[in-house]
């Protein structure tokens, strides 16, 4: 499967929760992609040199043609990374957006664009044996400590 990541998911999975090695493992089984806009958004934040190196190690840059039919939902602006992520995935079966922001997920749902979130990616890692039990508990603790907005029930089911 081809997973196309929005900026928030990159920040939390790679930077805040330190899942670089696990993402590299995952990238051997699935393509982990980011549009140029997401890369720019990530690098414009407060990132370390290590993060700068990691984003290019973990993710493959995917060229994207902006799907203009999505622009109305984003106030006719293309500055949001999510519109580029959705442009990549819209109408293509094997592609899946990785979007955490509720607004973006609402747009995906309206338009029938396949999506998951950071916790969905972690669940993939669990299912594919990339995360062991002790590491799962570490990650759960990190998620709870972070400012990541999530439903508590989703976190409890992470290793189901």
């Amino acid at each position: 499967m081809k997973l196309v990541f929005d900026t928030s998911a990159v920040i939390y999975l790679m930077e805040r929760w330190g899942l670089v090695d696990e993402l590299l493992d995952l990238s051997e089984r699935h393509e982990l992609l980011i549009p140029q806009r997401v890369r720019e958004e990530f690098l414009s934040g407060d990132v370390t040199d290590s993060n700068r190196a990691d984003i290019d190690r973990v993710f493959t840059l995917v060229p994207v043609a902006l799907d203009k039919s999505l622009l109305p939902y984003f106030n006719f602006e293309s500055s949001d990374g999510a519109v580029w992520v959705m442009s990549c995935c819209n109408g293509i079966d094997d592609f899946c957006c990785v979007i955490d922001e509720l607004f973006g997920r609402n747009v995906c749902e309206t338009l029938g664009i396949r999506f998951t979130g950071s916790i969905g990616v972690i669940r993939m890692m669990v299912k594919e044996g990339i995360l062991n039990k002790s590491r799962i508990e570490e990650v759960k603790a990190l998620i709870k400590q972070s400012s990541f907005y999530h439903k508590g029930s989703l976190l409890d089911k992470i290793d189901e």
């Binding site: 934040g45 939902y73 999510a82 607004f103």
Partner: protein
């Protein structure tokens, strides 16, 4: 009429007058259409044409008042709405559905604030904008948490960077 046949994010179909006006206006914004005439009045963009249309639908029994004082389709109205839907483009139905899901269950203040920020021209004769603008931080963050605006939009509305907006808004459930 099709609007009344669609469910909002809470699974409800019924709508009050204010939400009908705003959602139709939002749908026209999404579609870049101006089929219905709106004027900027005390509560922002409202349409006398819409009021007249709704009166006719009530008189003909296609729309009725629900127990909560809101408007809902009668059984005949639901059947008529299905016929209308069959003739509409999928893209237009998606935009109408999105508009209702995004706005119908907002409080009046959240709804007015959303529309005033999206369409600044509609503040022209507003009696509410000054009051709402004093609550802009709270209202913007509420709309973000409810998934009605993105962090990119929220940051622009408050004049901060996106990372600062997210950092000061995200909460755990």
């Amino acid at each position: 009429m099709l609007l009344l046949s669609l469910e909002d994010g809470e699974g409800n179909k019924e709508m009050d007058g204010l939400h009908i006006h705003k959602i139709v206006k939002y749908y026209e914004y999404l579609s870049q259409k101006s089929d219905i005439e709106f004027s900027n009045y005390k509560l922002g963009a409202v349409s006398y044409e819409l009021v007249e249309n709704l009166d006719v639908l009530e008189e003909t029994g296609l729309v009725e008042e629900s127990t909560k004082g809101k408007l809902a389709l009668s059984d005949e109205g639901e059947a008529a709405a299905k016929e209308i839907e069959a003739d509409m483009r999928r893209d237009d139905i998606a935009k109408l559905q999105f508009a209702k899901k995004q706005l119908n269950d907002l409080t009046n203040d959240e709804l007015l604030y959303f529309m005033y920020k999206l369409l600044p021209d509609t503040r022209q004769n507003s009696t509410e904008w000054a009051r709402l603008s004093r609550r802009e931080s709270e209202l913007t963050r509420n709309l973000f948490r409810k998934g009605r605006i993105s962090a990119d939009t929220g940051a622009k509305w408050l004049g901060v960077t996106e990372s600062e907006f997210v950092r000061t808004t995200s909460t755990q459930n």
